[in-house]
Every structure is written in structure tokens, then in C-alpha cells.
Symmetry: C2
Subunit: 253 residues, 2 copies
DNA sequence: AATAACTATTTACACTGTACAACATTTAAA
DNA sequence: TTTAAATGTTGTACAGTGTAAATAGTTATT
């Protein structure tokens, strides 16, 4: 992938693109495609072939314009990436039914799990998460939803922000392995299990005297879930975090 | 960056490279450079110019061999990346003094903060974290150290593994913003503050009726730490996680 | 001395992002 | 109605990437 970031260009331009606040051109030929069509095409490519397959040429071809016409709509790939991230996050902005009747813990759990599934559906997002927050409409709506889940519990504004940020960060850190497993499998056809079986014989030849605890824990873990069970580790850490949140909320409430 | 992963090649070959178990060549000319020199040169480039600057040609040039000689030592960039990750992690394998006298909470805090600083020193690592665990000597030593921090507390092996994994995942998720801020600043010269001031006027023109909680929380947060304080959010989440761990350990102990 | 094994190098190709200039099309102003 | 400005589109071009393939050079074994 490309660690391009949109900071190189004009940050304001990106804002206008994100919020659809680009004034319609007064003169000149009608654009063949709209911005959101372009972004949607890029997302389709990323979903099926990964973020590396999203090149200006391929996106342009997908919507039926010439390679360089791409740049009349988007300043560069960096901006395209940010637009993709915000647009795809539209899937994670609506609360489920019964949301109102839930407690905060159920809400946060739901948010974390939805986010997990979102990252699994679009694993390129995980590889791409950019630096500065993308202050687009959907990213903001997603933030709003998370904040509303813990509103009125006695936490101050700073604590609310950090709760949401920490939770999001945790999910992103935890989903990495699972999401990448998907990408790798799609690209190479090799599952984690196959990979594990390939290297297992080698691992047995190593000297583990420098790793005493590992040599005790490793085999048990290996027996239980091979090289790792990302979803199980995710649930484990999530519960510890929420347990910790319970203590804080009790102190405040 | 390049989301190449070493799964494409022979996983066993990578293992042999990681553990220095490639038999020395019996015939032919002496290699001009060693593998670790090559990897070290790549790390230097990544530290100063980011992971995108690490190309086979530049690494080869840095150690004084022709571009394609690179492939005599390493099958592809993917393997180079994995080797870089393990080699640079050597900085995070030794316990500090007084480690023995510490409690588990102080140990885990220390591990998390060291890891944070490690990612900040080498922010390219954050952009690159690969899919499958890199079962190299330093990665394993790092795992061993973390396990030893919580050994003997009554947690079973599975819980120990998931504790270490969750903690690592959390740090990685939380450090992203801080690490990227460094990268972006290095590359573009624009700090988060400058960026924030550039877009702030635009943000004030938006309609926040769809974001009621955000419009209450946002200004307070903005006043406190602008667009975000990654380190503070990191500490916050870390404490919640450790509080949650305390509960679990009490139940087990 | 001959051969096999190995490293190093040169050349080449298919990709990438995008700068630049020429051209096409639509609309506002003269 | 004509003209000029503004914009979208396109073709060409360049520097950079990873790496396949062929070749040349070096050394230990036979």
C-alpha cells in the first residue's frame, strides 16, 4: 500500500470534498462521473482486490474515464483514500433497534463488535487507517454514536472522548491479525493453518532455554487455537477494558 | 507502503533467515555484505525517511552492492520487512533493573510504555505490522518478557497469552495516531496544530444538529487538547485495561 | 584442469503516481 | 451571434518501483 497522506495537499480541499461542498462548475463540459461514483468504484476494487489494486488508472478505467481525468475530481490518491474511508464508514453510523433500552456496556460491546465486523468486511481499511482523523460526515456520525452510548453516566467530556478513542483504538489493534489473515488468504491462497503446519517442524528444532515461560505457555496455546485466535483475544481484551470502565463509572456515578 | 507479505514466498526460508540458520555457502565468491548489515541499512533508511523509502535499490546502494544483488540475500522485500521488524525489536527484549521487585501492574505498564516509545522511535513499524506473527528470536524474546511479567498470578496459559496479546494490540492501536503524526510532520513539515488551524474555520460552518453529543463534547475536548492527545488517550485506556485485569487476577488468585 | 556451486551484475518489463500540454465542451460576457 | 473564460478530457512523458531472466565472475571440490 501507499502511505500517502492527504496532508501533502490542501487540507481544506479535502474537507470540501468530504462534505460535498464543492461548488458546481458554472462553465465547461459536464463531468462524466460524480465524485461518489469514483469513490464507490475504488471501494469495490479495494473490497475485492485489496488496497494495492486501487490505482488511479484502475479506478479511472472502472468508471469509464481516462487515467488522467481522475485528477479533475480528486487532487491525488491520498485524498481518494480518505474519501474511501469516510464513505465506507457509512455502514457504521446507525444504532441497532432497541438501542435506547440497552445499558452502556451492551452498547459499547455492540459498537466494538460492529466495528470489528466492519473491518473484516473491508480489511483494506485496517491497512490504511490514516494519521489525522478524517473529519467527514460518516466518521463524525460514527463518533457521535459512540459518544451517545456513554452519555449521561457521569463521565466528563474528556473522559467520554478518551473512552471512545480507546475503544476504537483497541478494536483496530485487535482486528489487524484477523483482517490480514483474510487479505493474505485472498491473495496467496495460504491459510494460517497451512502456514503453521509449514513452519511447525522448524520450530521444534529451536532451543527454547532462553524462553522458559513461552515454552510452557506456547504448547498449550498452540493446542487450543494454533497460531492464534484473534476474535477470542479481542473478546478477552474488550471485557477487561469494559470491566475497567465499570470501575470508573461507579466512581463517577 | 507496500502491503507485501512474506506469505507469498516460502515461509520456511524466512524462518531460516530470521534465526540465522542459513548454511554458509561452501563455494563461490564471498558475499560482499551480510544479511544483518543489509537489514540494518534498511532500518536506518526507514528510521530517517519512512518505510516508503526502503526500496530494494536504495538498500542495495546503501550497502554498496548492485540493485539485483539484493535478491541474493533476501527473496523479496516482504522478507526484508519481516527481518526488519524482528531485528529492530531487539530493543524491547530486556527487562529494566528492579524488574524482579515489581508487581505485575508496574511490569505491564512498563512493557506497554516501552513498546509505545519503541513505536515512536521507529514509526515505520506501525505502518508495517504484518499479518502473521514474526516468529523470530527478538519477537519471541519480547513475548517471553511480557509473559514473565504475569507469570505465577493464577492465570492459566490461555489467559496469559490473551493478556499479552491484548495489551500489545492495544498499544499498537493507540500509538498509531502519535506515530503517524511524527511521520507526517517529517514528510510534510505540517504539524497537527497547523493542520487543525487550517480546517478549523471550515468546521465552524458545518451544521451540527445531527451530532448533538459531539457538539457538546467536541469544544471541551478541542479546548483541552486540540485535535487529540494520543498519549493521554493511551494512558487512559491502559489504566482501564489494567483495572480490568486486576478484577480477573483477584478472581483467580 | 575441469566442474559445480555460488555471488554479482546487466538488461528489461510491467506497473505506479502524476506533471504538462493540447484539445473539447459548455457557459457567461461582449 | 460572437468571443472569451472556465472547465473536463486526453495523450505523452518521466521517474520510481519490484523482480524475472540471462550473463559474468569467483571459489571449492573433484
Amino acid at each position: 500500500m501507499s502511505q500517502e497522506f492527504s496532508g501533502k495537499g490542501d487540507p481544506l480541499k479535502l474537507m470540501h470534498l468530504l462534505w460535498g461542498k464543492v461548488q458546481a462548475p458554472r462553465r465547461g463540459p459536464k463531468p462524466k462521473v460524480s465524485l461518489s461514483e469514483l469513490v464507490a468504484a475504488a471501494i469495490v476494487i479495494a473490497d475485492s482486490d485489496g488496497i494495492d489494486a486501487v490505482s488511479t488508472r484502475k479506478v479511472a478505467e472502472a468508471v469509464g474515464i481516462s487515467p488522467m481525468s481522475f485528477y479533475t475530481h480528486v487532487p491525488s490518491v491520498a485524498e481518494l483514500h480518505d474519501l474511501m474511508l469516510d464513505q465506507v464508514l457509512a455502514e457504521c453510523t446507525q444504532p441497532p433497534k432497541d438501542w435506547q433500552s440497552w445499558g452502556w456496556r451492551q452498547r459499547l460491546t455492540c459498537i466494538a463488535e460492529n466495528l470489528w465486523q466492519h473491518y473484516m468486511r473491508h480489511s483494506w481499511v485496517v491497512e490504511m487507517e490514516t494519521h489525522r482523523p478524517i473529519l467527514g460526515p460518516n466518521t463524525l456520525a460514527n463518533y457521535e454514536l459512540a459518544l451517545s452510548a456513554i452519555d449521561g453516566l457521569g463521565l466528563d467530556e474528556i473522559e467520554m472522548d478518551m473512552t471512545v478513542t480507546s475503544l476504537h483504538n483497541y478494536v483496530l489493534g485487535a482486528v489487524r491479525h484477523a483482517a490480514r489473515e483474510q487479505s493474505v488468504w485472498k491473495d496467496t491462497g495460504m491459510s494460517d493453518n497451512e502456514w503453521w503446519f509449514t513452519i511447525a517442524p522448524f520450530l521444534e528444532t529451536l532451543d527454547y532455554t532462553s524462553y522458559p515461560v513461552t515454552s510452557r505457555v506456547g504448547p498449550v496455546v498452540g493446542e487450543a487455537y494454533g497460531v492464534g485466535d484473534p476474535q477470542r483475544a479481542f473478546q478477552f481484551g474488550l471485557e477487561r477494558f469494559l470491566d475497567g470502565m465499570t470501575l470508573l463509572i461507579k466512581r463517577r456515578g
